[in-house]
């Protein structure tokens, strides 16, 4: 399982400062073990992050109610991201959007290509933070993308699981298919390993943003250099 053995990546504030200074446009903080453990995201660090960051940030992990979302937003996060809890309770997306506005509500989707009844399609996975509990929901990814938009999601982060952590490039075919049904901002996740992967996902899948973790954490790619290179390739990015 590529989701096994999550790396421990240093002090969160130090990392946030490093990415802020490097020119990241937005940071997403995932507490990926929150949903499988049935606990909510520990919020003591959200305020500390909000004090030092001068860019928007999103908090994901175990947010299952309007009250939990409110606490995270009040602590200074711009957005909250829901994944497994939205699958258990799709109405949660509607409630969050009505209360805070679509701009606050990100839906994260873990998806992969499966062959079911001889048909190849994309399916949504759940509890991907815990290798032993990760399972397909048998939901069609494209249908779920349509539904969460109807319910008021303001942004979708599509994590293509087969690509995630292997750094062989984003899943362009899947992202293109989702792009075709996604009218809100779409963020690609999973697979970034080289600058060319970022260029390709913007140029070919027409995503609004590209999310990456390991290549930045490990220092394989430097954000400032990446952005300069992307501009040289004709991709519009903030310097």
């Amino acid at each position: 399982m590529r989701f096994r053995d999550h790396r421990v990546v240093g002090d969160i504030l130090e990392l946030a400062t490093r990415y802020r200074d490097a020119g990241a446009d937005e940071l997403v903080f995932y507490d990926i073990t929150a949903s499988p453990d049935g606990r909510t995201v520990d919020r003591s660090w959200v305020t500390r992050i909000a004090r030092i960051l001068d860019i928007p940030f999103c908090v994901a992990g175990g947010i299952r109610s309007v009250a939990e979302a409110e606490a995270v937003l009040a602590a200074g996060a711009e957005k909250i991201s829901v994944n497994s809890p939205a699958l258990n309770d799709p109405e949660l997306v509607s409630r969050l959007s009505e209360r805070f506005g679509a701009q606050c509500v990100v839906v994260g989707i873990d998806s992969q290509t499966v062959v079911r009844d001889g048909e190849t399609r994309f399916e949504v996975y759940q509890y991907t933070g815990d290798p032993d509990r990760t399972r397909s929901t048998a939901r069609s990814t494209l249908d779920w993308v349509r539904e969460v938009q109807e319910r008021g999601a303001g942004e979708i982060v599509l994590n293509c699981m087969a690509s995630d952590g292997v750094r062989q490039g984003y899943d362009l075919a899947q992202l293109e298919a989702v792009r075709a049904v996604c009218r809100v901002p779409l963020i690609a996740s999973g697979g970034a390993g080289a600058p060319e992967h970022f260029r390709d996902v913007f140029a070919r899948a027409h995503v609004d943003g590209a999310l990456a973790a390991s290549v930045f954490h490990l220092g394989t790619i430097e954000i400032g250099e990446l952005k300069r290179w992307l501009r040289s390739q004709g991709i519009e990015v903030r310097p």
């Binding site: 446009d25 004090r51 928007p56 901002p185 609004d208 943003g209």
Partner: protein, 199 residues
């Protein structure tokens, strides 16, 4: 000495605005007290949410009448900027009427979802001390569904489909449609420039 207050108006970005001021070495007080607001050297009106709710909350503390009489520098941020104008199409809401104009909803179009959300470029259209250290094309972080058309009071524009007012100023009243507290260097500059305006 600079004495900054942030008007408490139920908006979600109040903490972020105060943290941004903190990074500039300013401890801003959060208040909806009219006398306290009048005494401040600089007043910030933040705002995230719906125009009608925000106006009702201001009116509940009599601030809909107080804010237009202020003579020190005032900065409205995002919805706070829109409230400085005559009205908003959001709930067809009468606003503070300090600046002429009406906030209108963006027209949704393919590839241009509403809300407008993300980093976009500023284009200065006239000189202002608020623009010190900012250059054409600098990026700022926007999150909004309604916007003000460009007018003679516009200091900088941004384009989402059509140009709209990104920074505005008339006399002591100023506004930023984007979120300076989350706009990295550009936002920090704008806030610092605002704090440097003479009281």
């Amino acid at each position: 000495m600079t004495d900054v207050v942030v008007i408490e108006n139920g908006g979600g970005n109040v903490s972020s605005v105060r943290y941004a001021l903190g990074r500039l070495g300013v401890e801003a007080e959060l208040t909806h007290d009219a006398d306290r607001i009048r005494r401040a050297t600089h007043v910030i009106l933040p705002g995230v949410g719906a125009a009608r709710d925000a106006m009702q909350r201001l009116a509940a503390h009599g601030l809909d009448r107080v804010i237009p009489t202020l003579t020190q520098p005032v900065l409205g941020i995002c919805l706070g900027m829109q409230l400085l104008f005559e009205s908003s199409a959001e709930g067809d809401t009468p606003c503070l009427g300090i600046l002429p104009g009406r906030a209108e909803r963006f027209a949704e179009a393919p590839g241009r979802p509403v809300p407008h959300m993300g980093w976009n470029q500023l284009e200065p259209v006239r000189a202002s001390p608020l623009l010190d250290g900012l250059a054409p094309g600098d990026y700022a972080y926007f999150v909004h569904s309604y916007a003000l058309p460009v007018s003679v009071h516009t200091i900088a524009t941004c384009t989402y489909g059509a140009p709209f007012t990104a920074i505005v100023g008339r006399g002591n009243f100023h506004g930023a449609q984007f979120h300076p507290e989350r706009s990295a260097r550009s936002g920090t500059k704008l806030l610092a420039n605002f704090l440097a305006l003479p009281a």
